[in-house]
Symmetry: C2
Amino acid sequence: MIIESKQNERVKQWKKLHKRKNRDADGYLLVEGWHLVEEVFHSNWSIKELIVKEATTLPKEYDDIKQFYVTDAVFRELSQTETNQGIIAVAEKPNYQVDAQTTQKVLCLDGIQDPGNLGTIMRSALAFQIDLIVLGTGTVDPFNDKVIRATQGAIFQVPFVQGDLTDWLTELKKNDIPIWATALDERAQPLPHVSARDQYAIIVGNEGSGVSKTVIDQADETLYIPIAEQSESLNVGVAASIVLYHFQQ
Amino acid sequence: MIIESKQNERVKQWKKLHKRKNRDADGYLLVEGWHLVEEVFHSNWSIKELIVKEATTLPKEYDDIKQFYVTDAVFRELSQTETNQGIIAVAEKPNYQVDAQTTQKVLCLDGIQDPGNLGTIMRSALAFQIDLIVLGTGTVDPFNDKVIRATQGAIFQVPFVQGDLTDWLTELKKNDIPIWATALDERAQPLPHVSARDQYAIIVGNEGSGVSKTVIDQADETLYIPIAEQSESLNVGVAASIVLYHFQQ
């Protein structure tokens, strides 16, 4: 049976997942395209069901997942890409239990707003073996389709939590994790002078305003990446990645 | 006088500049928004004229530039942003004369396709004091509005040329510039083991396929950024920036 109507109740429920408030309420999100669906399938995340465009052949490995076939028109209603590949997974939001003992390398995000930047940062966090990403209040929703695409699937492998940064930093301090904020205050050290380490929390901030004052005040130390005088700043995804690269050496 | 018709010849000419082939033929491009217009105004690039939405007040410093006021509807026709700021500069494409003697740090791009990635890379190239960017065939047009926005204005300050990479690499070799390609071939060295230097050309490649084989063959050496096993790769803008950061130290 193929779902043919955009008014179908199931279709309406799926479409609602385009919006953050409904993802928050329902606990599900959409993962679109062959590569990302395969990545989420092979991760620890759970897939509730697959939405498949008519005449699309699925690999055998997806046989145990509930499948709903829909017409091309219905699929286009649900797709969030310009040229769709005919497959969307309805995935369950993960719920990571944070173990303070094994959480040694933490990346904290203070109000990152661009989905592409957040995706790039999550991708780099996986590459540079971050144990946990803390997405502070004001950071774009990681379950946004643009974020997921920009992570190229890394989002399914790197643990993250959403919450209040102040609370998280207080917790990290209790576990003696040194906290570094990227900031240009008086005490700031140039990154090349900071030696690599095994334990750290690094805070990067909003594209326009950087890390907020109250958060900087909680940091043990601050650092900056030296750049040419005529350059205003680096892209925040780049800056975060350079710091992670440096700390990893 | 305010231009009120989308059929106005001048409006039609401006709108044509949304397309690469017309920018290539005319030698002009559009720069939109207050911040970018100010950046191009204070750079060595030339502004031919300003397109201004009716009821917008311009700063005195723009008095010497030809100004055309247009209605809100006409402006929206020309704007390439969702919420426009009412100002667009028609700028002349720069024509950089490359001086081999002072060109010591070169970044070569082999088929970068995403405008956001190219913009990020140009921004980092300015920050890490690259003397010249060579945009190889197959790389997205740098005069594309999305690229310009992603550079945040850095495009107006860092010299670049478009051309055949093979020809450029041959030229660089004549000047004894060591050429490094990012690649995972047998001879590749991990970036942290490569020592910083004053002279170099670095090649980064396409988002999906990396640097092409023929270009790698022209490189003196190759390098890679060590990443976690479960990570597929870094974003190319991030990878390029990390290499530039490392070489700058």
